[in-house]
């Protein structure tokens, strides 16, 4: 099977969907002539032309809102935010318009837009560029949220997101763009809402999403190596829809849960998952559900300190041991 990067996987997904459906358009700052700030769309302008691959001015509220409007009339815009952090400039368009239009029209209108871009810290770009808004996005009924942790999922989820008839926030990660894994050639879909058990285990469920999964897998290796602990690692992949069943099944098996994510702790995805578990699997638990997040402060710039602020293999390993105590 070919080994391709997360970046190439996203490009392949968008390209296949552009070829498949004339209503798919990729739009954003520097996506066309500059080939993308992070080169996700490299070569796509040359291949598909300026009608399908469109450079926008720096006007997030305007062009995201425009994408929402175009989606209402049946286009399937894929809107790139250079950094997902800039979603806040378009907050009203996303959460008032995209999220509510179907409801407020009594189901007459739908909004098949994808809003995508990198949402992560770890590259020392400071507080304004390091937001991880998955829980904020998923808070809004009407919005779907996916966070792929690897190239295979990135491709399959992107294709599903583009075909989805609801607005999907697609959160990527600049640190993962260069990470490669086996990805089959051609058509496959990963459905939204299906978690993936990345590593089977019996002693503790380490659940999470995004890049934290890559770190959790390494921490699980360490736990095995040093303490013969068999950790199960569950990648949610999709935050809303959420695969509650896979979460509960894992916890029922292991009786312990650590949720790992890069977001801040308040009202995080992990908080939601902990609540679901305590509601629906309380009797199976041998310990409280533990969460590991970024340290609760805006993203610090200082490179060595930012490392400490974020989840790391070491922190996950330690938190897992604490959960098992």
């Amino acid at each position: 099977m070919p080994v391709i990067t997360y970046r190439e996987a996203l490009r392949a997904a968008m390209s296949e969907e552009i070829e498949r459906d004339p209503n798919v358009v990729l739009m954003g700052e520097e996506v066309a002539q500059f080939n993308g700030a992070y080169k996700i769309s490299e070569g796509m302008l040359a291949k598909y032309g300026p009608k399908r691959i469109v450079d926008t001015p720096i006007s997030e509220a305007g062009f995201i809102g425009m994408g929402v409007g175009a989606a209402m009339l049946g286009l399937r815009p894929v809107m790139e935010l250079m950094f997902f952090s800039f979603y806040s400039v378009a907050f009203d368009q996303i959460f008032n318009n995209a999220a509510n239009i179907r409801y407020m029209s009594g189901g007459l209108i739908n909004c098949p837009i994808v809003i995508r871009g990198p949402a992560n810290g770890g590259t020392n770009v400071g507080a304004t560029h390091s937001h991880t808004p998955e829980s904020i996005a998923a808070y809004h009924p009407g919005i779907k949220v996916v966070v792929p942790s690897n190239a295979y999922d990135a491709k399959g989820l992107m294709k599903s997101a583009i075909r989805d008839n609801d607005p999907v926030m697609f959160l990527e990660n600049t640190i993962l763009y260069g990470e490669a894994c086996e990805v089959p050639d051609g058509e496959y879909l990963v459905p939204l809402g299906k978690a993936s058990v990345m590593r089977a285990g019996t002693d503790i469920s380490i659940i999470g999403h995004g890049r934290s999964i890559q770190l959790a897998l390494k921490a699980a290796d360490l736990l095995k190596e040093k303490h013969n602990i068999n950790a199960e690692v569950v990648d949610l992949r999709s935050i809303r829809p959420l695969d509650v069943e896979t979460i509960l099944n894992s916890v029922k098996k292991t009786s312990r849960c650590l949720y790992v994510e890069e977001s801040k702790p308040f009202c995080s995805v992990g908080a939601m998952v902990a609540c679901l578990i305590s509601d629906q699997a309380f009797d199976y638990l041998d310990a409280p559900v533990k969460r590991l997040t970024s340290i609760d402060a805006p993203a610090i710039y200082s490179p060595p300190l930012e490392k400490l602020q974020l989840p790391s293999v070491e922190r996950i390993y330690q938190a897992a041991l604490d959960t098992l105590k």
Partner: protein
Amino acid sequence: MFGSLTLNKGTFASNYYFNLKALPVTKKPSSSKKPEVTNLGYDARQAPINIKLGQDEKIALYRDMVRIRRFEERCLRSYQQSKIGGFLHLYIGQESIAVGCASVMGKDDHIITAYRDHGHALAVGMGMNEMMAENYGKITGCSKGKGGSMHYFDPSRNFWGGHGIVGGQIPLGTGIAYALKYKGLKGACMAFMGDGSVNQGAVHESYNLAALWSLPVVFIIENNGYSMGTSQERSSAGPSLAQRAEGYGMNWAIIEDGHDVLAVRDKVGQALKLAHDKSLPSVLEIRTYRYRGHSVADPDTTYRDKAEIEAYKSTKDPLNVFQLALLAEQTLTDEIIQKIDESARAEAETSAQFADASPYPSIEDIKKDVYWEIDNPADRKSVGALFFD
């Protein structure tokens, strides 16, 4: 004094499209035609604000531009040595703007800008040590290593950042102007942005507020021709960026000779005066050029050619142009030039050593400076948990 100056008249002749002084609030609807050049013969050297400049003051202007350039060259080296993380946006080529603007600031005038902020910071008097240490992420940095290169601040010097979100600083600049007016101070805020930022809604909302409420703000567009890899023509509709002010009935002007620190002083000085005397906002578009990629990470190979960069450098370099002018009028000598250069290099080198030797913040520092009440526990009025780790 300037009569003996044989060097390119064109270099100093500022081709203003409009004279701010002569321009009351414009009522005409905007035309899509390019505005006419109305005062070609204008010479920035003869402007009252410049004619009174003493030799030392002129040398100081030159020195500040050199300091910015040497500092940034040193930053670039540190970045290449991986001492600096994240983004590094260099101001090289645009020094005349920050220095010109800062040099006409009075006690109650303020500055706010975007992420390309090293020039403004040095121009208002921030020190290289605290700036370089910030780039290195050290606790001795101006923002204690928390903000990085894009987020310098020094309220004690009326410098309000340093902002990473394109256009996000413009409402803040408008708010500073509001506060100045509210407090009855005779000051203004210069709110800087790039040519790409003018398409943000927040900028337009600020224009309207400023014009509607007659706020003492000078919106300064540093038009270096590009927003990342996008040329002005590919991002902005309309005849010029500054002319959009007409839609709000605001004064505006284009400064073609943005590389000429004296032209910048003159025009910005007039706009500040308008803000001080009549509490009127204005929009200035200053034409300039950046020599380096958008940030150091930008390979700068796709959207412009080297010849374009060289052409600008060879005729309009702000340092060279001013140096030649000051040499011609014998304000500068080769010896002084060399001394200025050496001392700027040494200052930059020292700042790198200072940054290197400084400690990083501690892990406890991550959660300081988040809430005023946490940092000032004796004065805390609220109760309950503020952190959730």
